[in-house]
């Protein structure tokens, strides 16, 4: 978990699921320890690995190297960005989220996802595959 995001949590920003959050994926890179074991490139094995919030907090909440994180928020069909509090709204603006939390946040609404949406997140820039983490 990036240091700024960790500090935000320490200051009271909740990582509990938003009522309109359908599911969420972390695309984690350069981790020092995750489950299952990382491969030699420091990635999760290809595939979608499920975890709950406690596991994420235990694994990534502290004590590991700084890293870059892509977060993909899948919101429910009735989600309306204009109903968000100003603090939550920052999560849905890529630049604001990056500046405030040090994470690259992407989002979409369930039922509108392209067919290969989750497959695309498993392809690294060099074309090889990595695993991603589904939190729910």
């Amino acid at each position: 978990m990036p240091a700024r995001l960790r500090r935000a949590v320490a200051q009271g920003v909740s990582l509990e699921p938003h009522p309109h959050l359908s599911s969420l994926w972390f695309v984690l890179r350069y981790l020092s320890e995750v489950l299952p074991a990382l491969n030699s490139n420091g990635d999760l094995p290809p595939g979608i690995h499920r975890a709950n919030w406690n596991e994420v907090e235990q694994r990534f909440g502290s004590g590991s190297k700084a890293r870059t994180v892509d977060v993909v928020l899948i919101m429910t069909r009735d989600f309306r960005i204009e109903d968000c509090s100003s603090e939550s709204r920052a999560l849905f603006s890529h630049l604001q989220a990056e500046a405030r939390y040090g994470a690259s946040v992407f989002w979409a609404r369930e039922g509108t996802l392209p067919r290969d949406f989750m497959q695309a997140w498993q392809v690294k820039r060099d074309g090889s595959l990595r695993g991603i983490l589904e939190v729910g």
Partner: protein, 69 residues
């Protein structure tokens, strides 16, 4: 950073994938949210395109210098 032509091809495919995502998402996105929703995908595409150009403007490793005659 792209290291060789194989990674160049992979990066181009990834750009195309993200462009397809944007194309699909814009069909159903509400106008008032589209700027926020699209911003991340746009930035990612721009980063990848920059990496492609950075690679293409570097001399090819196997290229020979033109001789002066």
């Amino acid at each position: 950073m792209i290291r060789d032509d194989k990674e160049l091809a992979a990066m181009r495919e990834r750009v195309a994938t993200f462009e397809r995502m944007l194309e699909e998402l814009r069909k159903t996105a509400r106008p008032e949210e589209w700027q926020d929703l699209s911003s991340g995908y746009r930035l990612e595409i721009e980063r990848m395109q920059r990496e492609i150009l950075d690679y293409l403007v570097r001399p090819a490793s196997g290229a020979k210098r033109a001789s002066a005659g």
